[in-house]
Amino acid sequence: MPSMSLVYDAVNVGDALPPLTLPPLTRTTLALYAGASGDHNPMHIDIDFARAAGMPDVFAHGMLSMAWLGRLLTEWAPQRDLREWSVRFSAITHVGERIVCTGRVTEKLERDGEPLIRVAVATANEAGAVKLTGEALIAAARR
């Protein structure tokens, strides 16, 4: 992770974050994530349960995608500068999909005397179908 904070004047609206491309999603990842996160909802790991609930297959935990966006953000700025962030889960992430996480600076602002960078983030599959959208507020240094 970068050790230095973003410099407010060096960041411009429209700047793109370096994208993060994930390998194709596997069932192994879903099993590992279920155990590591504590989210044992069978919808994500038990195909029998998923089918009984009317879904064709298991699918990714929403919070797994948010964790990937966390990697995107903390590879761009130190984690200590991440003030707040939010995501909307708009479509299911399926087994086998190759997800790309992207971010773009949308605003520079000041709140309570602190310079902040607003970033729009998203995850999408290779075809460009958006799965998650969200935004983050990251603190920046004045110089």
Binding site: S37, N41, A52, A67, G70, R80, E84, F89, T93
Partner: protein, 158 residues
């Protein structure tokens, strides 16, 4: 009953330990390989007091109870009809291996959508550590499909 009378209902706080092994497994699951998150010596040499928890980890740990979905059952909500609609996290202080976090959840809002076929259930959880430091505030929006809704076409996805 899933209605506005639930707004303001709080649930008993619970606590969970941030274990180093658990953090390493979490890092593996999300594909995180940087030393701050996986290697104690690397974390310390980067200026951290121990392994750093990734920014969503504390949010996940609030499911670390024997039956994390019991509160939904108590509200007569079928887990198979629940999708995760949105998540918001505000961070106030870092979380490290060795910390013990306490989670205090409450229902912040209940909103009916699409002529009652969907209900948004908003839960807010305050997270403090063993020193009483407020480390995070989490806002979770769950989408609950009514029993008569078409099971094959969820409007939002987890």
């Amino acid at each position: 009953m899933l209605d506005e009378s639930l707004i303001g209902r709080s649930f008993p706080p619970h606590s969970a330990d941030v274990e180093a092994g658990r953090l390493r497994l979490f890092a593996k699951a999300i594909g995180e390989t940087r030393p701050e998150y996986c290697d104690e010596a690397g974390a310390r040499s980067a200026g951290h007091r121990s392994l750093l928890a990734p920014p969503t980890f504390a949010t996940c740990l609030y499911m670390d109870v024997p039956d994390p979905f019991a509160w939904l059952l108590d509200l007569s909500i079928d887990l198979a009809r629940v999708l995760h609609g949105a998540q918001e996290i505000r961070h106030f202080a870092p979380v490290y291996a060795g910390d013990r976090l306490t989670f205090s959840p409450r229902i912040a809002d209940v909103v009916h959508k699409k002529r009652g076929t969907l209900t948004l259930l908003v839960k807010e959880t305050e997270v403090t550590n063993q020193e009483g430091v407020h480390v995070a505030a989490v806002r979770t929006t769950l989408v609950v499909r009514a029993a008569q809704a078409n099971d094959a076409t969820p409007a939002a996805a987890d």
